[in-house]
Amino acid sequence: MDGKQPSPTRIIHMRGSIRIAGIYLILGALWITFSDKLLAEIVSDKVQFAQISTYKGWGYVFITAWLLYLLIENHTAELAYNEKQLRLITNALPVLISYVDTDRRYRFSNKSYLDWFGEAVNGKSMEESLGKSAYQKISGHVDAVFAGRTVNFEADIPYKNGGTRFVNATYVPDKDTKGRVKGFFALVQDITERRQAQEEIRLWADAIEGCAQGISVVDPASNRILACNPAFANLHDYRVDELVGSPVLSLYAAAELGHVRRQFERADQIGYVRFEATKLRKDGSTFLTQKDVVSVRGDDGFILHRVVTTQDITERKQAEEEIRRLNEELEMRVSERTSQLEAANKELEAFTYSVSHDLRAPLRAIDGFTDILVEEYAPRLDEEGNRLCTVIRKESQRMGTLIDDLLAFSRLGRKEMRTEQIDMKELAEAVFRELYSDEDEKRIDFRIGDIPAVNGDAALIRQVWINLLSNAIKFTSRKKRATIEVGWMEHGSENVYFVRDDGAGFDMEYADKLFGVFQRLHDDKDFEGTGVGLAIAQRVVHRHGGRVWADGREGVGATFYFALPRI
């Protein structure tokens, strides 16, 4: 709207106006020049001439007035039409369009203003309409446009109503022909959402850019890389710009191309696949990757592109391989140990077999022939000779018992366990009844609590009760009245069973020796035994995953505990 340089339409308008004015000028001049002369030819009477001339003058004036009316009417209608058109157009735009005069009041505003501010702004001042804080933010730009400059700016504007919006505004000064600014046109666009969308895109771009996993987008038709992130490029020792546009299959090991193509096809069919593939670096070296391929479909159902996530799994594969190798090694070692153990077990079996067969026979011979000696040659032996023979017999017999017990102990470790639920109370009572003599019955006060059942090998657990209860009976045998108590208590996930007696007891100093094979704390002449019973009890309990221990005082009594996992 620069006054010095009229627009082409303006020029056309001007030419039309000039032509009309010219025609009017010529017709008017002709009329003025020739109408009186023509009239004088027709009318000779002076009075009549003057009268007609007056009518002619009035007629001219009326015609001119009528023409003027028509012209103005026509022009006004056109203006109204034009303004209506303009309004239609500006209202249709999603942009705020307004005209502000030098009083900084709105003279024109399109419908967007009404939508935004909820009220008409025409005639109101900018400050009033926008609010104080918003106006402060833009007043500098308004000053600039009144100074004659076209202004364009983007800013967060805290509007009076509608909250803070991010806008793009253009102010164009409206100058008259002399260059004075009469007002300005304001074009304001709300780009808050666009900026949010842009920011979101920026965030995602940053995420993809910074992602440690390789991400690439592939065109499904050409199999070319449309975009990729630096991690993807780094994996292959390329730069991003070197890869964009290049064929993706050239990054795969040639031998696997068929496999890779099939996987891509599958992804296109079912939407997603994961597979492992060997890939090539720029220098031709290879590395192992895991690929996650997502085929993205457009609304029309066609595959838009494939988004591929690439992970270098060389290290993971190596670790897996290492684990597999270690496992194999471990298995080998276990089987080695097992066979060693089996061999040792075989040896042990052979040993016990040999002990069982060969060690007894000589003992029997010693015992037997000594007996024959005593019986058949008694008259020739004096008292001392007889005593010595008795010692020989007793000792050989004792060794026999030791061997038997030792074999029993060794057998225990090799016996296969058959686990079942055992009624401990019933078992302990039955064992006690088998063990005690009539004499014991009178002497011993046997008390048994409600001890709970347990899971175990009944024959083995029975042996534990036998050994503990027979010990209790044995070590109370010197007492005229004794008490043997069987009870239990809870401890964590275990049931702790105990056998308590008030017999000979033992010195706690030697408590740790109690459960050793052939360990004895009492003289044979006091209490007979080989010292295997508690070792057997311990072995059985250990095989059941339990523990044994003892508590005692010499001359006061002893308590033997064994703990087994609760059912």
């Binding site: 067969h357 000589p362 015992d367 017999q397 026999g400 074999l407």
Partner: protein, 156 residues
């Protein structure tokens, strides 16, 4: 092989001391009058099947009981048992395993092969004598054997 006439007890035992103690015990109870002592499994089989020396007993001389040790030189006790029990000429002869071993595998194997009884020799001599005397008495006096004479009749 003091006698090729009827044998009551065949004792297969390599240990001379054990053999002497067993024989003494049986003799003491008058149970060893017709006892044949074989020192190894081969001799025992040779005697039973008449395959050894020419003076080996004919097959009709089936002992009323065989007392068989397990640990024997040349052919061990379980093998002797297997051969006796798998031959129809000898399988009816009662075989009593008399051994020092109370190991389960031995006991199982013996019964699987058809042993008629399994006796563990006690180490204590008193108990040993007691067991051997009862054993002898049972098989020679209590147990009624299958009548050999029937078979003998068929020979005539």
């Amino acid at each position: 092989m003091e006698s090729s006439s009827v044998v009551d007890v065949m004792l297969v035992e390599d240990n001379p001391q054990d053999a002497e103690l067993i024989i003494r015990t049986l003799r003491k109870h008058n149970l060893a009058n017709r006892l044949l002592h074989m020192k190894n499994g081969k001799d025992a089989l040779d005697f039973l099947f008449g395959t050894g020396s020419p003076e080996s007993a004919p097959m009709e001389n089936k002992p009323r009981v065989i007392l068989l040790d397990l640990k024997l030189p040349k052919i061990d006790g379980l093998e002797v048992l297997r051969i006796i029990k798998s031959d129809e000429r000898t399988h009816i002869i009662p075989v009593v395993i008399v051994t020092s071993s109370a190991e389960n595998p031995d006991i199982q194997a013996a019964y699987n092969l058809g042993a008629n009884s399994y006796v563990v020799k006690p180490v204590k001599f008193d108990a040993f004598m007691n067991v051997m005397a009862r054993l002898g008495a049972y098989w020679l006096q209590v147990n009624h054997p299958m009548n050999n004479s029937n078979k003998d009749m068929t020979k005539y």
